[in-house]
């Protein structure tokens, strides 16, 4: 059974690169251009993991994670964030509080992204939601 994941980024070419990598690895990939669109796709398609950019129009990455955590159905959904901005203590603390699984800097390696995703999904098999 293939894993279903959601990719969110307002930069089309980055979205396509990641989509290509995951599809070749046998994933079922959903794509969204901003947080609002992503939230709709999460509710409709119940992905097992979300990979999202930080800076996006309408609803940004942290806003999306907050919404995911506030909804009981999606509260334990693993989220991986990508950022082109450097180190930001306040933001990283916020991400930690929102139980973001990992933060990856841009430019990122699709290979590395796939590896992290695989390890996160295999970890989910034994419910990781318990702290």
């Amino acid at each position: 059974m293939s894993h279903r994941i959601l990719l969110v980024d307002d930069e089309l070419h980055i979205l396509r690169a990641a989509e290509y990598k995951f599809k070749r690895a046998g994933y079922e990939v959903l794509c969204a251009f901003d947080g609002e669109e992503a939230w709709q796709l999460i509710l409709e398609n119940k992905p097992e993991l979300v990979i999202s950019d930080y800076q996006m129009p309408r609803l940004d990455g942290l806003g999306l994670v907050k919404r995911i955590r506030e909804c009981p159905e999606t509260a334990t959904l693993p989220v991986l964030l990508l950022t082109a901005k450097g180190f930001d203590l306040a933001r990283d603390q916020q991400a930690e509080a929102l139980r973001v699984s990992a933060i990856l800097g841009k430019p990122f390696s699709p290979r590395e992204l796939l590896a992290i995703t695989e390890s996160l999904l295999s970890g989910v098999a034994q419910p990781a939601s318990a702290p």
Binding site: L12, H13, I14, R16, R24, Q55, A84, P107, S109, P110
Partner: protein, 515 residues
Amino acid sequence: MSDSGRTSSWLSIAALALAMSTLVLCAVDEVLFVVDSTGKWIALGVTLLAAGAAVATGWWINASRQATVQRYVDLLCRIGDHRDLANISNDNSLPFPADDSWHRVFVQVRSCILAYNDRLQEADEIKAVAEVRAHRLADEVERLAEILASLPDPVFSVDSYGEVALTNGAARKMFGIEGPRGDGKNATRGPRDERLQEMLLEARRRKAPWQRAAELDLLDVEGRSHSCSVLIRALGVGQDPNDEVGHGAVAILHDNSQLKTIRQRHAEFVSAVSHEMKTPLAGIKAYVELLADGDTEDQETREQFLGVINGQTERLQRLIDNLLNLARIEAGVVVVHKQQQSLNEVLEEAVRVVQPSALEKQIALQSDLSELFLGVQVDRDMILQAAINLLSNAIKYTHPGGRVTLRSRLTEDEVQFEVTDTGVGLSSEDCGKVFEKFYRVKRHKDMAPGTGLGLPLAKHIVEDVHGGKLVVESALGEGSTFRVHLPAANSASPASSIENRPMESKSRSPRSIEA
């Protein structure tokens, strides 16, 4: 005159004696009945005459005496004005009888006055010196007050009771203090900031050169916060080292708010630039890795990936060009190559460059260019960059499904092109600010990444380099129009004079640098 006075007194005394003897004789006649009547009348006449003479003489003596007294009084009055003294002493016509008591008085008074006059002269000299010093001091105080007033930094002092004593214009403006000096009625304790007041209180208990510095956020009279460097100094060095009482304190403030804003904007700018650079870099890295890992099976995909890499490389290059050109234009270090160009051709090129991003965002990009040949004397690369910046700005701030239109036209003496969008629009306040470097409209910041450089650069290129004009017309929610006015190149002589002036000033320095 004194002789006659003395003679007259003798005369009157003689007349009095004669009259007295006549009266005695008459009395004797009466008693003895010896004298006949004629003799009686003669004696009576003589007696009366003598008495009259005596009275007249007495009156005359008295009058002459009074005249003398009056002369001395006049003289003393004149001496009262000491400046006349020398003249009076030399006036030989005045009567100075050696044995007259008036003269003695006069001599004494005169010597007193002479001594007094000497002291008065000394005092006059001292007064003159003091006046010069006082004048100099007044000048000095005035100059110091002017220097204090001209300081852009707020300065104020408090007295030993903590009330504001001396202020400069900057301090009065910041804290709304009235008048350069506090007075009893209008006593004010200056800024209400607790820490500042604590520092002033401590300084008042100390003696110079005690001082403390601090960084404080102070509220001005209108409630705005200013982040200030504050220096507080105790005032006055007590003569007595055991003197524990302070003399007040002075506070010197330096408002760092502007610097802080600039630093903040700069930090935001660096962050935005790195974000802008990392985004195309992320694409390049990702696709290079996909190609290197052999993830691509068919030639078509490989070519597609290479196309993306190429596009992202160009995007990165444009960003770096924007950065560099803006810095160079601002520093006046830029080489301008102006040539006769077809504006429409440059605009078509710009449309080709931004077309992919419009397609990606599902925005209709339309060209409505003039059918005439629009000749302009411009630096092609620069005008192309300005047009690209205006177009990509319009695409960024227009929602998917919107429209961006590029138009060009020829008017009487200029060539125009404009970019109109159906995007989010700008408030009138933001219309004035979008050409400021690093400025990004807050409410639309999250719509698209950006550096706040594209529009300022376009304005520099159009106005400073080409002597044209870039204006914006917009309203919130109703889209925007950015219009460029350029001098027409084929309208004979005036154009060359317009385009040469700004170009020369900008191009002189780079030539010498690059030579």
